[in-house]
């Protein structure tokens, strides 16, 4: 799918740049405090996730945000290390979600997600582009090959309905998700 390739490639370039420009400083910081390479990797990747989610709607201004990213990494390390004497990586579900708190247990939401990922990846990619990556409907229409914003919007809501229906049917048994 065109959009997926494009955004994945863009992210790959962005993350490679971040690895080259910010990861060495994070690794130095963690190593001086007795942390391991694996912990440096977890701290760095979690910091990038937080930074990505916070700056998605504004566009990722790499030049201005390197110090910000380093600040997030230091904060993560201090906070987690004080609490656990080691680094505990962020969950997929985290308190940083601004839209809602999840009321379900994680295993169930993970199962729902696995099911959706298998049953409707194209839909999930479209929804992700809008709600997570904060792309405009114009960008989405172009990269997903829709004739215009209107048809992309119609498809977006069809996909959203599909996710809602899946959530609604969460009384399905575990076997339904693992089959």
């Amino acid at each position: 799918m065109a959009v997926h390739t494009t955004s994945t490639e863009t992210n790959r370039q962005l993350f490679t740049q971040l690895y080259q420009s910010v990861f060495p400083a994070v690794a130095k910081y963690i190593s001086r405090r007795g942390g391991s390479l694996d912990e440096a990797k977890d701290v760095f990747q979690d910091a990038v996730v937080i930074w990505y989610e916070k700056t998605a709607s504004a566009g990722h201004q790499l030049q201005n945000d390197k110090a910000y990213l380093m600040g997030i990494a230091k904060h993560l390390w201090i906070k987690s290390y004080q609490a656990n004497q080691r680094y505990v990586p962020l969950d997929e579900i985290s308190q940083s979600f601004s839209l809602t708190e999840i009321t379900d247990s994680q295993p169930l939401s993970t199962m729902l997600l696995n099911y959706l990922e298998t049953a409707g990846q194209k839909c999930m990619d479209l929804l992700k582009s809008f709600y997570y990556d904060k792309q405009s409907m114009g960008e989405i229409a172009e990269s997903f090959g829709f004739s215009g914003e209107r048809s992309a919007t119609v498809q977006k809501f069809k996909c959203l309905e599909k996710v809602r229906e899946t959530v609604k049917s969460k009384s399905l048994t575990y076997e339904d998700f693992v089959d």
Binding site: F15, Y19, S31, A40, L99, T100, Y131, Y132, V154, K168
Partner: protein, 84 residues
């Protein structure tokens, strides 16, 4: 679709302030609407979870590149030296 759009405007606060008040009033008298809003919030949470999962996979792929590809050898040596 209109119902989903209305709920979305309310949850994401992309509507007019007056629309929000009307919507809140409707929720007081319509319990089904409260459930619909809740359902849609859960759908958004799943989409965010999916987004984060994909992002982490992309980051992991770059990490593997940085620590295995010959073109990043100097970078790798510099990092490994920090943990000796």
């Amino acid at each position: 679709m209109i119902k989903l759009q209305e709920i979305e405007r309310f949850i994401l606060r992309t509507g007019q302030p007056g629309d929000d008040l009307v919507f809140q009033a409707r929720m007081i008298v319509d319990k089904d609407l409260i459930n619909e809003v809740s359902l849609q919030k859960e759908a958004y949470a799943l989409i965010n979870q999916y987004g984060r999962r994909k992002l982490k996979a992309e980051l992991e792929a770059v990490h593997q590149d940085m620590f295995t590809q010959p073109k990043h050898q100097r970078f790798r040596q510099m990092i490994m030296a920090l943990f000796k």
